[in-house]
Symmetry: C4
Subunit: 125 residues, 4 copies
Amino acid sequence: MEAIGRTRWVIPEGYIPAESMVNANEELLSHEAACILNTGDQDASVTITIFFTDREPAGPYRETVGARRTKHVRFNNLSDPEQMPLGIPYASVIESDVPIVVQHTRLDSRAAEIALLSTMAYPVE
Amino acid sequence: MEAIGRTRWVIPEGYIPAESMVNANEELLSHEAACILNTGDQDASVTITIFFTDREPAGPYRETVGARRTKHVRFNNLSDPEQMPLGIPYASVIESDVPIVVQHTRLDSRAAEIALLSTMAYPVE
Amino acid sequence: MEAIGRTRWVIPEGYIPAESMVNANEELLSHEAACILNTGDQDASVTITIFFTDREPAGPYRETVGARRTKHVRFNNLSDPEQMPLGIPYASVIESDVPIVVQHTRLDSRAAEIALLSTMAYPVE
Amino acid sequence: MEAIGRTRWVIPEGYIPAESMVNANEELLSHEAACILNTGDQDASVTITIFFTDREPAGPYRETVGARRTKHVRFNNLSDPEQMPLGIPYASVIESDVPIVVQHTRLDSRAAEIALLSTMAYPVE
């Protein structure tokens, strides 16, 4: 299959709840993810830049998404060049050297139950 | 009505929770669906390709969506050429021989209550 | 403000849960809505066509959205030319004589708590 | 980074629940937000116009989003030229003098648990 999508995507809404339900396992931990699909035959070198409300942007964070592979990148786990903070608003721009498609998802387990949100990221022309 | 939409759609986020609430009926079972609408006067032959994080893609899975019909395809039920796995990330590309429109929805009933997410799939130009 | 948007929109995912939480008031009743905005200076004459999995489409259902007004149309309330059914999958096409913008939202209160989903409808070129 | 996005965005669905869970802190209060990202090197002057079902639009509400900053504007907090009402449907148009990207999110904590929805706003050509 050919490489599908765009090389730049934007997610204006970002927020990783600082708390989770009691005894949450890895899957049910409050988290936010950028789900990236690379349908093409070349590995994708992806960089993520994080924007904040009151300081200069952080990054670039670097990820590789293999050819014909998907990767669900959890923002919680981004730690190089600096650890992603919890409990504050942020936004992200995701850039790739080959076309990809990006979807944004949050699982919020602050309460006893879970809540979910998801939307396709904004594809830049 | 004429055939509306595109012939290729992408859903980067995929994950079928492996658990459901106690005594969930068919409707409240944790599931993920690609909701497909074919407004045109010709049946749509649809193929679904599934991408994973650490192996080559699976598929094609084949579905038919009748003329002037909608079909909510549950990923859980895809079994030919191989059964869809639960509890791991995946992504999908949906292709059709006539224009269709595709929306992605998940119902997660792992906790005692349900959570929902939905977004329009990404329409490939 | 000028008239913003498109004259045709598609929502492939449709499902009105047949049950609601005990003692749900009008607001917390399980429902599905097409939220329509008409920013222009002319009233919008809107028609909604409903597609099913196993029968011919229903409609057209007719709505008016005033100039510079928004209208959140609940699918539950569509009754002419025929009552919208609960508990089965459907899809919709929304057409207008002037540009509008359409967003899809569901509130599901089958369990003791509520779940929400929302996405922008698909704008036809 | 250059300025990314569009200068006009539309959110047809708007509704701020009038109630929240008992003892909700600021974060868990029922609210609705327009998450705005300004990736460019110039501050963005943003105006928000609110549309209703049965009266003329309100606004413009004015916000500034700094260069290389994100701002999650809570509709609940809009009070000048008039206080945003709770518990009624509304819609919004968001305009900027430089390109921005806008995502819509609601947190509903009327029940004992929370529910979330989110979608990218509609980018006007």
